[in-house]
């Protein structure tokens, strides 16, 4: 007898998607992660646009990762024009990434994922039974937003980061306020780790997963360096950002507006768990300690551990950001204007780690700085094939074969990836002269 598991419209994720898994008796015959987010074709609309207009447009690909899109876009443009930003700009951009990561992880962990573990439909329903947990999550989320507002000028779609630098530098008073918030955030992260360490285990899908992440040259981070590590069967392969297409050998599939990616024929996972795994030999002390407390062992064969990995990053990022802000407060900020940007004909590629994983922007400009070709590859597009793979594994491994139990597991796996479906459909490649 054939049966179908259907999730018409997945709740508590960003964007529009569903799940369809076909079974013949208990054997899985087909798995689809359907993404029916409308196609906005933004990258195609960039053609002919001046370089100055590009980052505000591409940030609209996704609100939750708008800072990562803005900053990766700026870096791709700067790479195309041979612009080198100041160390202070690089540091402030790092700060903006951390703010986004703190906000995004807190939003996902507390508002989207936690209700699953505590059997509630939403964070607001959770507020009735677990008010302290919800307030804790909202405080951490607000902390991330206050960093984004201070450095980026707005929590969603930052406006202050421009080609070559920043429109305006934060004042000392603003930095003091940030520091005070971060000191409270340190205590909140202790409570956050206790909470997520005490949740009932979610261990129903074991998979031999391939991971891909930026292998940061210095501190554990999201935006420095351009070496990508791919870990497969205990083997580590290194790629440069410019070779990103070997990670994104994409095919369009009829059931989804997101293209599917594979590396050497295998799906791979990007995101917090991939980042911690790729950098596990050199994890900072705080991250190691947080991973121990929350019971995360690396490498992990359980994709649900992406939630734990986000909690570890959240704890680490708050401490790291506090140190960055202290450094700025002690050393002061040098008044500087953005580095002048002189357009020239050329191409540039940039990679960074958005909260959900690897993000690539690759542009070609003409001599007047007008866009000829744009390619944007987002983490959720990279993850789509891996999500389907893990759906299949979870159904095969489940001892409960009833549809409602299976449906719940599939929804939890989808959410553990923290998919961003608005992002996922933005996979575009324009050719010169098209």
């Amino acid at each position: 007898m054939s049966r179908t598991i259907t999730v018409e419209h997945l709740a508590r994720v960003e964007g529009h998607g569903g799940i369809t898994v076909e079974l013949d008796e208990d054997a899985v015959t087909s798995v689809q992660f359907d993404i029916f987010e409308g196609a906005r074709l933004l990258e195609a609309l960039l053609r002919g646009r001046s370089f100055e207009d590009v980052s505000p447009i591409v940030s609209r690909i996704c609100a939750i990762c708008s800072a990562a899109h803005s900053l990766t876009s700026l870096k791709a443009t700067e790479n195309a024009f041979g612009v080198e930003v100041s160390p202070q700009t690089a540091l402030l951009r790092d700060l903006l990434y951390r703010g986004e990561s703190i906000e995004s992880h807190a939003l996902h962990l507390f508002c989207l994922a936690l209700p699953d573990y505590l059997n509630h439909p939403s964070v607001t329903a959770l507020a009735a039974d677990h008010p302290d947990a919800v307030r804790l999550g909202l405080r951490l989320k607000k902390l991330g937003n206050s960093i984004q507002e201070t450095i980026g000028g707005r929590a969603v779609h930052p406006v202050n980061a421009v080609p070559g630098g920043f429109g305006k530098l934060p004042s000392m008073d603003q930095l003091v306020a940030l520091r005070n918030g971060l000191v409270e955030g340190m205590a909140d992260c202790e409570a956050m780790l206790d909470l997520f360490g005490s949740l009932p285990p979610a261990d129903f899908c074991r998979a031999d997963t391939v991971f891909a992440a930026l292998s940061s040259p210095g501190d554990y981070g999201y935006c420095s360096g351009d070496e990508i590590a791919v870990l497969s069967n205990g083997r580590r392969q290194a790629l440069r950002a410019a070779e990103y297409k070997s990670l994104t050998s994409e095919t369009a599939v009829p059931h989804s507006h997101a293209k599917h990616s594979s590396f050497q024929g295998r799906p791979f996972m990007v995101g917090a768990l991939a980042r911690l795994t790729a950098n596990r030999e050199k994890l900072p002390r705080r991250a190691e300690q947080a991973a121990r407390r929350i019971g995360l062992t690396l490498p992990s064969a359980n994709p649900m551990d992406n939630n734990k990995a986000q909690a570890v990053e959240l704890a680490f990022d708050v401490e790291y950001t506090l140190n960055l802000v202290e450094r700025l407060l002690n050393g002061g900020l040098e008044e500087e204007r953005p580095v002048p940007v002189r357009p020239r004909a050329g191409s540039g590629t940039a990679v960074s780690e958005a909260p959900r994983g690897l993000l690539f922007h690759s542009y070609s400009y003409d001599e007047q700085g007008r866009m000829i070709a744009a390619d944007v590859v987002t983490p959720t597009a990279l993850n789509a094939a891996s999500i389907e793979d893990h759906f299949g594994q979870a159904v095969r491994q489940s001892l409960e074969k009833e549809i409602p139990a299976l449906t719940r597991k599939l929804e939890m796996i989808a959410r553990a990836y923290d998919p961003c479906l608005s992002c996922s459909v933005h996979v575009v490649r324009l050719r010169h002269g098209v």
Binding site: G38, D53, A155, V159
Partner: protein, 254 residues
């Protein structure tokens, strides 16, 4: 009167306006106490997808048959429909090219499969159904959505400025980026409500909130031309967020 029944929906967009609602961290628990939120798929897995609503907040533009059908269903079940965000009010970034050759763009992106996808030209909500309230911004400002909720709870229609960002910018005593620095700042044409967020940071306004009803369009365009900015550049900039709306100087909202 009981609590108003509210639905919060996203059509095609970046979910930024729903995120702004979730970003009201200090007010969120009060909001969910004052309102009876029945349908909010982004935040809840227990939704009543059929009940009548007093207020529907809808973000995103209509970019597919599926979006259009959903919007019509929402219209049919709600007393008041509010468009939130520039995509819902004006069409937003997806409408910037006036939807020139969509079939070609789809094919460029998805190859031969492109023609089989459910994809229609970008439209603002008012082009499909009657809209009762427009709250623009990319994203909306927290204060404006909170003010809308507070006003509606008291039975008053919220009132938003019709004047341009320039007015707010002058009140903040900023140096003018357009007059003094020759930057292509859309402040004279863009509706206020952001407290001149960008020019305050020395960054020219990109027009993300859509056109201001009270803007002096001819004088602003004359100033751009005087500054030597090409008409093509001005038009491109003005079309980015509001489709034809800002470039034409005025909108035709529902």
């Amino acid at each position: 009167m009981g609590k108003p029944r509210v639905g919060i929906f996203g059509l095609t967009g970046c979910a930024g306006d729903q995120l702004v609602i979730l970003n009201c961290e200090d007010q969120l628990l009060d909001l969910v106490t004052a309102l009876d939120i029945r349908d909010f798929l982004t935040a809840s897995s227990a939704n009543d997808a059929g009940c009548g609503l007093d207020v529907a907040l809808v973000e995103g533009a209509v970019l597919s048959q599926r979006d259009e059908e959903q919007l019509r269903r929402i219209r049919a079940r709600t007393k008041l429909l509010a468009a939130i965000g520039t995509c819902a009010v004006w069409g937003g970034v997806a409408a910037m090219d006036g939807n020139g050759n969509r079939a070609k763009l789809l094919e460029d992106v998805y190859g031969g499969l492109g023609s089989s996808y459910d994809s229609t030209p970008a439209r603002a909500l008012h082009e499909v159904v009657r809209v009762d309230l427009n709250i623009s911004g990319c994203p909306i400002e927290k204060e404006q959505i909170l003010a809308a909720v507070a006003n509606l709870l008291n039975g008053n229609p919220p009132v938003y400025p019709a004047y341009p960002v320039c007015t707010e910018c002058r009140m903040r005593e900023n140096n003018c980026l357009l007059v003094e620095k020759d930057e292509v700042c859309c402040g004279p044409l863009t509706v206020a409500g952001c407290n001149a967020r960008c020019p305050e940071l020395n960054v020219p306004c990109v027009g993300c909130r859509g056109p201001a009803d009270d803007a002096n369009v001819n004088s602003a365009l004359a100033m751009f031309v005087e500054k030597g900015v090409s008409r093509e550049r001005i038009a491109m900039r003005l079309r980015t967020f509001a489709g034809a709306g800002l470039a034409a100087g005025q909108g035709e909202r529902g």
